[in-house]
Structures are given as C-alpha cells and as structure tokens.
Amino acid sequence: MIAPLKDITPAERARSTSFNEASARTRLELLLDAGSFVEFIGPEQREVSPHLKIFDLPEQFDDGIVVGRGNLDGSPVFVAAQEGRFMGGAFGEVHGAKLTGLLRAARQIGSIPVLILFDTGGVRLQEANAGELAIAEIMRAVMEARSAGVKVIGLIGGRSGCYGGGGLIAGCCSALAVSEPGRIAVSGPEVIETNRGVEEFDSRDRALVWRTMGGKHRRLLGAADVFADDNVQDFREAARELLRLVGPFSLDRLRAEQERLAQRLRRFGACEDAVDIWTEEGIPDAETVPELPADQFVALANRIGRTSRDAR
C-alpha cells in the first residue's frame, strides 16, 4: 500500500500495481516478461471504429483493445487486453476483429497459448450488429483454437467486469482466473433490475452484486479456476499456473463440463442467495466470505475444491 520507488524490480512493481486500477497497456507490460511485448495493429495504425463518427462519439486509436505477443517466463504467448474505461470495454467491429484475428493466428500456429484480459460490459450499443457478430466469431475462434490444441486463458479483474458477450466468451475459455473485484455474468445488475424489478435484484446494493457475480463467488462455484489477489503479479502467477494445469481439449471434456454444470444446478438451483450456496457447501460462517483476506480465501476455496479441471 506504500508508494513504490523508482528502482524496484518489475516483479515488485507488478506486485504493487492493482490489476483492477491499471490500464490495459500497464496490465500487459507488467504481466509479461519485461520488454517482451510486441503489439499488433498498434495505435499508430489508427484502425479506429468506422461507426462511432456517425454518432459523433470520440474514437480511440486502438479501439479499446490491445493485442500482440510477448513472453511469459521466456515462453511465447499471444495476449489481448480490453481497456474497460473506453466505452466500458465494449465489443465493436474493429475491437472484435482484432481478437478474432489473434485467435485465428493462434489456431494456425497451434502451440502458442492465448491470454485474454477481459474488461467489458458486453457489446457496444452503437455498433450492435457488428458487435454481436464479433462475439459469435470470437466464440467460434476460441473453440477452433482450443480444438487445434491452443490453451485459451481468461484473466478477469477489471472495473467493467466481464459481462454480456464477454461472459459468453469467458465461458468458452480453457480456464479462468479471477480476482475479488472481478465480476463474471451475462446480464449485468442494471439489466436484471430493469427487467425483473428492484425486488428481484437491487443493482445499487453493491454487496449483493459482488456476492452474486464477483470473483469470490465465481471461484467457489467453480466458474473460475484460480483466484488471484488484485495485483498484476498475482495474475501473472495465476496465468502460469493455469497454462501448466490445462489439459487437452476433446468432446469428452465438453461432456464433462455439461455434466458439471447440470450437477451444480441440481445442487444449488433452489438457493436464493450466494450465502445459501456457500452454506450448502459447508462453509462455516458463510456470510463472512466477502470479508476474508485473499490468502485465507484461497485456502478455503482449495478446501472446497470445486474447480473444473476435469471438465471445460
């Protein structure tokens, strides 16, 4: 929590940098081996959205996503990082195409894994059709890459969470790491409240939002495989761990994932609140889970052991 000084090592800087607060570019810089990142279609190429001008909205030179390659412990990886502050990290035509292209390149090469740093509210309203198409293309590209033997790892801990089409893509990944402030869902809190009423879901009750969609709950449910503390170094270590753990992809694995989800629904389908699920899991004082420090939570989650390493 104390300010870093200039002469610290990259690992120390990554440890003291909040993943949640960092920009997409800072996340990549500190996640990868120092100086190894090379960007594809960088901002100087000005591949901006063709749609935003029509709506008199400002563009961003990278259209809100940074894609490229770099090294993790000396081994090559492809990376994509969404910038959650530009239009809520939402998918548009160019934004989506950059990720699709990266995944297709990974499929062709076959041996280089992909890390996707999600930070998105879903599809950009102003380019909805192109954005929805992009989501479908990316989901297909993820599955094709995985079928070709590529590990696709999602890292989720940004301020915009991983919502809408982002949540669908995350569900297609080989494995996910999530931090406490990270959120994963399809419908966002405001969408649920608008459609089902404030009695169903009070989007301003942030404790409710996080215990329903937040990182700790997603880890306990097995939707995410690893829980990272909110700093870039922890995400780097989580990515390393997942790359080591993820096994080969096959139809059997998909069937196992389907069975895991069905079983989860049978077991917890009647629960009204996340706390009920945690209690059902046998967690003592389940209501204190949101207050647990990261190390204690990781110990608890490992004891519960509900991950999907035999599935996905």
Partner: protein, 105 residues
C-alpha cells in the same frame, strides 16, 4: 465533435529515440495522446478531436504553454479527447513527452 490543429516552431528536438508512445484513455474527462517522432526537429504539431465544442482558445493557451515549456521538437501529437480539463490535458502531454524520451521501441 470538433477538430483542432496547431503547429508551432520549437527551439530544440525532443529527447529520446523512441518512434512513438501512447498515454491515457478516451473516457469522460480523460483523453489519449499518441505521440510520434515524424517531424523536422524544429517543428511540432498537435491534432485534436474533442467532444467539447467551442474551447479552441483554451486549447490554444494550454498548447502554447506546453510547447514553451517542453520544446517537443520533431513530435506530432494526436489527441482523442473525452472532454478532459485543461490541467489533465497539460499533464497527459507532459507524460507523453516523458514516455517517448524513455528507452524502448
């Protein structure tokens, strides 16, 4: 949206060898500055696209002070602005100059 463009003669070339750098994001009250080393040493240019219409004279004052203070010779700045305050603009421009002076690509 409004497009603004400024060109200034400058005393000296900006430090460093990096070809380009980018800082900031386009969000409400924020901006991104893409800086590229593409101009003759005695010139600098600033191209702006901003959501805040009608503040040309404020931009002119901010950029005049910036050029006077940092002498960014040889640099072209391209700005996408989400309605940032003048002090935020000054800060991002200074950060861009610092970043392109660092080592790296």
């Amino acid at each position: 949206m409004e497009d603004l463009s400024f060109r200034h003669p400058v005393r000296s070339r900006a430090d460093g060898a990096r070809r380009s750098a980018i800082i900031g994001v386009v969000a409400s009250g924020n901006l991104e500055v893409l800086v590229e080393r593409v101009l003759p040493d005695a010139e600098c240019a600033i191209e702006i696209r901003t959501v805040a219409v009608g503040f040309g004279d404020v931009w002119s004052a901010v950029i005049g002070d910036f050029v006077e203070r940092y002498s960014p010779g040889g640099l072209k700045f391209s700005i996408n602005d989400g309605g940032a305050r003048p002090d935020t603009v000054s800060l991002r421009l200074a950060q861009a100059v610092r970043l392109i002076a660092e080592n790296g690509q």
